[in-house]
Amino acid sequence: MTEVRIERPLLEQTDRAAAEARARYGEQGLYVLNLMSSPGAGKTSLLERTLERLGDRLRIGVIEGDIQGSADAERVARFGAPVHQVNTHGSCHLDPRQVTAALPELGDGALDLLVIENVGNLVCPAEFDLGEHARVMLLSVPEGHDKPGKYPLMFQTSDLLLINKVDLLEACDFDPDEATRVATTLNPALDVLRVSCRTGEGLDAWCGWLEDRVRRFRETR
């Protein structure tokens, strides 16, 4: 019997796959966004509204992550963007290797932006680097403004928080200032925008944020 010292991070394989993927995306000039939220916060609606607004200015591909089904991919495909559905079969998050394997399914055409719609969940996806350049998370008004304090890692690791469904503010006891205060205390570098995918409020600001990120990414290449 021998005891062997190993000292290896448990997510080493995953983190290495993510780092390799990010390097490859950089070489290809592909900006990658990891879009996360709880189920029903409006990730697919945001994608639809984004494709409507930016579809003729950016070549956008989409990878849809869901436990099962292809409903989201069908919704996005209506906007003409190349899309592929990944089913995780019970797993609560996407893995960088699933994204790399799905990318060829989007076809041979060059892309400027890849949006990965992660599995709806405020906990697990935050732990897994997919090789993305930015993380965008949605928090929708009906979920309540207390979520940043309850699910801190998601807020701490995101670059942009979109408070979605602000058209419902009057019907819900959601205090957007309080949500912003706690979220930016947890993560002082976090950008926060208020949007409604239903009325279109704030979507120009969101598209501006996104285009700016893609432009800056290209300039550093």
Binding site: M1, T2, E3, V4, R5, I6, E7, R8, P9, L10, L11, E12, Q13, T14, S91, C92, H93, D95, V123, C124, E127, F128, G149, K150, P152, L153, V182, T185, L186
Partner: protein
């Protein structure tokens, strides 16, 4: 339930070590888990045991070492253990939140191998 992914990753690493050391079985595994990782020990044990079936690690003992969260205050220089990591205020000067310095560990520390 991302503990299942962590457990799968743990077995992947163990399989490499078993092959490299030409071991026949793994009798004990020690992992280090920080308080900030949101890993539930019981869920990890469940996943580890389920995935161990039919591998050299079947029946092996999983030892979990919990690492408490520690923080440092950038305003007054306080350092110490952090009990409630969410928006923990500095016990010395009250600044919120204290910067976390330890507690993110998720490490396979060692394995005890049976060799022929």
């Amino acid at each position: 339930m991302h503990e299942m992914t962590i457990a799968a990753s743990l077995h992947e690493s163990l399989a490499e070590v078993v092959e490299r050391e030409r071991a026949t079985a793994v009798s004990r595994v020690r992992v280090r888990i920080g308080a900030l990782t949101c890993i539930q020990e019981e869920a990890l044990r469940f996943g580890f045991e389920a995935l161990a079936q039919g591998t050299p690690a079947e029946g092996c003992e999983l030892e979990v070492i919990s690492v408490p969260a520690r923080g440092a205050c950038d305003a007054c220089g306080w350092t110490g253990e952090v009990t409630d990591p969410i928006l923990f205020p500095c016990p010395q000067c009250g600044q919120v939140p204290v910067r976390m310095t330890e507690g993110r560990d998720l490490v396979l520390e060692s394995a005890t191998l049976e060799t022929p």
